[in-house]
Structures are given as structure tokens and as C-alpha cells.
Symmetry: C2
Subunit: 249 residues, 2 copies
């Protein structure tokens, strides 16, 4: 199987990492819109417009499925993307919510959803969680985590102060949904700050989702990956080498 | 006189504020490329490409001058912009350096230049400072100040920790050049952290520069401003009302 993976920038590499670990695909085409990142501060119409442009790009390849790694795109543009292609388009929000069921998280758990402004404002996580019977949901936009991760600030004073800023009124959380592909890089620190709350990681969640819903099983010996970016592709490739611990990119 | 003011997003409003205070223009057309902000993390070719698109937009107006409020655009795209229009295009870097002379800053002063990754990497401030005889120059990219200002984090623990992060090895600074239009909003805090160093503000610097080089004198009773944005113009207008303390926008 051949998959296109779309993200606003580099964050989607955390999803690619999960896809590689489970060897789900024979070939992955990654496109990061690095010229126009971040999407999380943009409005709905702009996110839809840019996502449809990315879809046009993917039409140059013979793909079986398109995976939307970006939460902001998953929140706003899935319907429009699906209306403009015949192959399946899968986002990270429904799969993230599904992961709670797979982990048998009780319906009365206290759930914290964190993400960019766009993702939180869309209310999509909250909508699907409620549909699954979860009621105790708090959602907070934590946009500063994105530049912190991009600046490789993965621990220390700034991150601690930012945790205190966003989480000052947050107590007794059982599960944190990491609603942005940048957040897995500070997943352990977030969990620790919130008294070892469980975390839901978009990449791991979508692997499970693809297995059960699209018959993707880890059967390929090796995955060929091609990286494309709307600006500075060599920088994307360098980060991919580091994050994926893969030299031949 | 009628001026176009171009910025990658909202930061250029700090320049507009200075232009309004000195009543330099009869009419200002502001364009913020809010759909594609920030520019400071983009590469040179992308910044040039987007700047030329903004120039095309300004051609819809009968303008006398175009002011590039964005330091990253001033660093990379001035030559290309000038080659594509007959009206003057003025950036904030040369005017910022000129401000040191206007303030009679001694040539042996210790100067710190801070800005986005793109601006610092361009070496433009350093080049013009050296040309003016300044030799003791330190430059640091401080990209996190941009999202902090955008999130209205203008004091407190996160900002202090970020100062310690960027300025841990910085001592005895006489003058700080604020090489990004977001930074005037934390100007006092930066100065205080660096033992009350002098600060150079792009907006104030360009007002002086326009007066001396382009015969702009504060003679207009009122300035009409029009705001345009590539995404979410109402959000830009709301921030403009707040920053410029002006209700009729």
C-alpha cells in the first residue's frame, strides 16, 4: 500500500515514526507545507484552501490512502478533501478518540484535550468524545508548545513556566489527548506535570485505526519514503533524519 | 503622501503606531500576510516570492512610497521589490542602523542585535553596522519572542525564563536593536533585563529616516488607514484597535 502523509510542516513526522515502526506501508509520500506553517493560527477557510492545494500535489502520485497528520487540517478540511478525491482520507481526530476505547478508558474519566487554537476552537475532539459517551472533558489551546518544540526546548525553565501558565487550574486529569503532532516530543514531560496522566499520541492512535478500519497490517519489510516541502526541503529532511533516526533520507 | 505598509502579519502595527504619532502620511494602506505569517522561519526564496505578491497587491493603490515593516522582508527582498516598482521601497534595517548615528551612539559601544532566524541569518544588520564603523556587535536569533508577544505574554515567568535562555552569556550591552516588529511590545522588559540598555525601535527609527531622506514631515491632521490581510482581516483590525488605541478602524 502507498500512503500520502500531509502536515502543515514537520510535526507530522511523529505520525510517520509510528507508521514506520509498524511497517504499515510500502511507500510513503510526505508533504509538509513548510512555507505556510503553522496552520493552527489560521482560520477555517485558509486551512481548507491550503489543504486542497496539498491534495492536488498528492494527485501526482499513485496513492491508496491519504493520512492527514495535522490536527488543524483534520479538524476543518476533512469533508472538503474527501469530496475532491476517490481514495480514502483519514484524519487524526477520530482515530485519537477511538484510541480511548481501545485502551478501555472508563467513560467517567477526566479528559484533557490540548492543541492549537484552530483545533481547540473547532470543537471536533469534544464532539467525537461526547459521541462516544465521554462527558468530563476540558480543552485548552496550548499554542506555545509548537514553537518551543520547533526550537528544541524540550525541558527546562521555559517549558516548566509554560506548563504552569496553561495548566494552573487543571487538576485530577486521567487522560491527556495530544491534539497536535508536535506534542509527542514533550509527551513525558506533560504526563509528569499532570501527575502521570495517560497520554494519547496521534501517531500510535492512527496506526491502530488504520489496522482495524483499512486492513493495513504491518507486512512490509521496508518502507520507502519521499519527502516534499513547499519551502526548504533540505531542512525538513534533516529534521526527519534526526526524529526518525534514519540516515538514508 | 500615501504609504503602503507591508508586514508578514500584525507586527508591523508597531511601525504604523510610530507613523501615526508623527502624522507622516495622509493615507496608509496596511497589508499583513496573516495567512502565511511568520516569515522569520522561512527561507530567502520563499520570502522574496511572497513579498513580490504583496507588491502586486499594493499596485491596486496610488501610493507614493512602500514601507517594509517586516525585518525578514527588509533583510532579503528589498532589491527584488525595488526592481519591480517605480516608487521608493524603504526597509527597517538601514533606518535602524541610521538611528544609532542620530542618537550619537559611540562607535565602540557594545551592540546586541536580536531578531528572527531569517533576519539574523541574513547578516544585514551586522553588515550595515560595520559599514557605519560599529565593531562590537553580537547578534542572536530570539524567535520565541514572536509567539510570546502574539499570545500576549508580555511579562511573568515564561518571559523571564526565555530571557535567561537567550541572554545567559550576554553582558555589558549598551544598545539593543529590536530587529523584529513584535519586540517593541516587550522593549522595556528587554532593556531592564540587560541593565537598562538603550533600545532601537524600528518604528521610531523609520520615522526619523523618512523625515530626513524622503521629505516626510508631520503635516497631516489625520491619517486615513485601510487594513488588508490575506487571512482573517477582522482579527487584524481588532488587534489594530487595541495596539493603536484607535476605535474607528
Amino acid at each position: 500500500m502507498r500512503a500520502g502523509v500531509f502536515d502543515s510542516g514537520i510535526g507530522g513526522l511523529t505520525v510517520v515514526k509510528s507508521l514506520l515502526e509498524d511497517k504499515l506501508f510500502e511507500h510513503i509520500v510526505y508533504f509538509g507545507d513548510t512555507a505556510r506553517v503553522p496552520y493552527g493560527i489560521k482560520d477555517k477557510n485558509t486551512i481548507i484552501r491550503y489543504s486542497l492545494e496539498a491534495l492536488e500535489f498528492f494527485k501526482n502520485f499513485d496513492l491508496d490512502i491519504i493520512i492527514i497528520a495535522c490536527n488543524s487540517v483534520s479538524a476543518y478540511a476533512l469533508d472538503e478533501l474527501r469530496a475532491n478525491t476517490n481514495i480514502p482520507v483519514v484524519g487524526v481526530i477520530q482515530s485519537g478518540v477511538k484510541a480511548l476505547q481501545n485502551k478501555n478508558i472508563p467513560k467517567n474519566s477526566n479528559i484533557l484535550v490540548i492543541g492549537t487554537n484552530a483545533t481547540i476552537k473547532s470543537n471536533q475532539y469534544q464532539f467525537f468524545l461526547q459521541k462516544q459517551g465521554y462527558k468530563n472533558i476540558i480543552s485548552i489551546a496550548t499554542p506555545l508548545f509548537v514553537p518551543l518544540v520547533e526550537e528544541s526546548i524540550l525541558d527546562g525553565d521555559i517549558l516548566e513556566a509554560t506548563f504552569r501558565h496553561y495548566f494552573k487550574d487543571i487538576k485530577n486529569i486521567d487522560v491527556v489527548i495530544l491534539g497536535c503532532t508536535h506534542f509527542p516530543l514533550i509527551q513525558d514531560k506533560i504526563s509528569l506535570f499532570l501527575n502521570n496522566a495517560n497520554t494519547i499520541h496521534s501517531g500510535d492512535a492512527i496506526v491502530e485505526y488504520l489496522k482495524y478500519n483499512y486492513n493495513c497490517y504491518g507486512k512490509f519489510k521496508e518502507t520507502k519514503i519521499e519527502f516534499f516541502a513547499s519551502s526548504n526541503p533540505s531542512s525538513l529532511k534533516n529534521i526527519a533524519k534526526k526524529w526518525l533516526k534514519k540516515e538514508d533520507i
